[in-house]
Amino acid sequence: MNNSILQVENLVKRYGDVQAVRGVSFNVDEGEVFGLLGPNGAGKTSTVEIMEGLRTLDSGRVTVCGLDPQKNSQELKHQIGAALQSTSLPDKLRVIEALRLFASFYRRHRNPEELLKRFGLEEKRNTFYNQLSGGQKQRLALAMALINDPKVLFFDEPTAGLDPQVRREIYDIIEELRREKKTIVMTTHYIEEAERLCDRVAIVDHGTVIALGTPRELKERSGDKTRLEVRLARPEPQERLKNLEGVSDCRILGDSYILQCQRPPQAIVSLVKHLESQGNELISLEIATPSLEDVFIELTGRRLRD
């Protein structure tokens, strides 16, 4: 292990009878971008907000920058920066005022003007918060997370609810921070985001980590196979499809058959031949290159966004 800056051990969080986080463990190294990937309600936000000192934990141990978020929350808050989910700023606060105000809360802070420039908000300098677009608000949120030059950054669903073009803008910003070797912990339910931005990913489902590694490692673990998603006019026995030439596995997900295959062209040919012989018809066929989605499907039998 390198120098780990953040440790989570057997973290458990309950809300009444609901166990949102059930024994999550991982370490984050200095300078890496660590992603928590999972569906909504998997316990990602709870985990992150415990690390930030916003929520209390029920059991387990969390250390961030050598500090206990519950006991040393005041000191910790000087050392971390965060872009939260479901948060906002006062409607009538101007962009520059927000940056200056938050800068004043910290012992050490960066120049608000420099952050404005870096996040492309110079033109919006004197605009009220409620007049900013979704993308501008999110850029401001990221700029504000950096205002105290933090040792660890937390981005909770940094692109949720943004349209694709704006999402790419946010990716560029995070990639730049990654090149600067900032330590970032981010949550996401977007496969693409985790693959593109994260050095390591923990796949989270129902409050537990079900897989952890670099995106490459995780994909290799599931065999690096191409996925064919097929819908048919009439049902077909799963076993028959599984035994087709070029197909290594078949599972049923909703109204689709998911075929894992090492050599897709061959699999498609044998599938079409088989269907013809059965008098069955192909309604749709989708080819998906190997991704973390396959890892998730393989481990849970569900799609990430079900």
Partner: protein, 296 residues
């Protein structure tokens, strides 16, 4: 300390930019002022002087509306959450609301005095020191009351209902709208349990009889004590998150804020001092009023 100052500055800026502020801090107080001075007191200087106490008391008490609404909005919109990941503490947040509110209320009160002088020829404002001490203690304590309302309610709707439930007794049973001596004896007995009554009575006596602060001490001390209690309770019940539930002890804590005036009310009911004082103030104005009319 610097967090507190920065937040106070932000709150003042935001409030001035808010339309609700215009209503609660400008239109409503001056509406009351001209209604009382022009219509009820018929513009007679002695009458205006007598009613200045209730008008200023209404301005001061209005604090809890704006403060409770602002804090609940901040919580509902997730704004407080954002401050929670910074080193800002609940006390920074709460104290800045109270102080910002004070700086916003003070100009309104000063303008009311100025208008009384310019439009209604009131030249004698009695004991100015006592007047300003009462305004200060009153603004701080009613602002803290607003913070308690914000902490025992979850939504803006609930906040507004509680505000209405507080506002009407406070203005109708305290002498702020109908002079205490004109109210039925039973209502007077209820009135002396309300903090508003001491504020109205204190302001009125300071203005009309130039009563100095040392003679208003009991009411002022209890108001201060009440301000401290409500502020402490609001800090205890402070919630950063909209989804975090109101603790069960909240109602008990909120009820505890009634204790200072419960005790004072019992005492005043025994002695009947306060009611007698406000009667004296009214008689003084009536007499001067008759004189005024007879010389015409």
């Amino acid at each position: 300390m610097s967090n507190f100052a920065a937040l106070t500055r932000m709150r003042i800026q935001l409030t001035i930019r808010n339309k609700m502020f215009l209503f609660f801090s400008v239109i409503m107080p001056f509406g009351f002022f001209f209604l009382y001075a022009g219509v009820f007191a018929k513009g007679v200087p002695e009458g205006v002087r007598y009613l200045l106490g209730p008008v200023v008391a209404l301005t001061v008490m209005g604090s809890f509306w704006g403060l409770s609404a602002a804090l609940v909005t901040f919580r509902e919109q997730g704004i407080l959450r954002r401050f929670h990941v910074t080193p800002v503490t609940p006390s920074d947040m709460l104290a800045s609301s109270v102080v910002a509110n004070y700086f916003l209320t003070l100009p309104t009160v000063l303008l009311q005095l100025l208008f009384a002088r310019v439009f209604f020829h009131v030249h004698d404002f009695g004991d100015i020191l006592a007047f300003f001490i009462l305004v200060t203690v009153g603004t701080v304590s009613f602002a803290s009351l607003g913070l308690v309302v914000a902490s025992v309610t979850n939504t803006m709707q609930e906040t507004q209902i509680i505000n209405q439930l507080l506002w009407f007794p406070l203005i109708f049973l305290s002498g702020a709208t109908i002079p205490l001596p004109s109210l039925p004896a039973v209502v007077q007995r209820v009135g002396v349990f309300l903090p508003a009554t001491y504020l109205v009575n204190g302001l009125q006596r300071a203005i009309v009889f130039s009563i100095s602060i040392s003679h208003l001490l009991l009411g002022v001390v209890i108001l201060c004590f009440w301000a401290a209690t409500t502020f402490f309770v609001s800090a205890q019940l402070f919630r950063w998150e909209a989804e975090s539930k109101i603790p069960r002890r909240a109602k008990l804590w909120a009820a505890a804020t009634a204790i200072p005036f419960l005790l004072l009310g019992v005492y005043e009911n025994r002695t009947g001092r306060l009611v007698a004082e406000s009667q004296a103030a009214m008689h003084a104005v009536e007499n001067s009023g008759h004189r005024g009319e007879s010389t015409k």
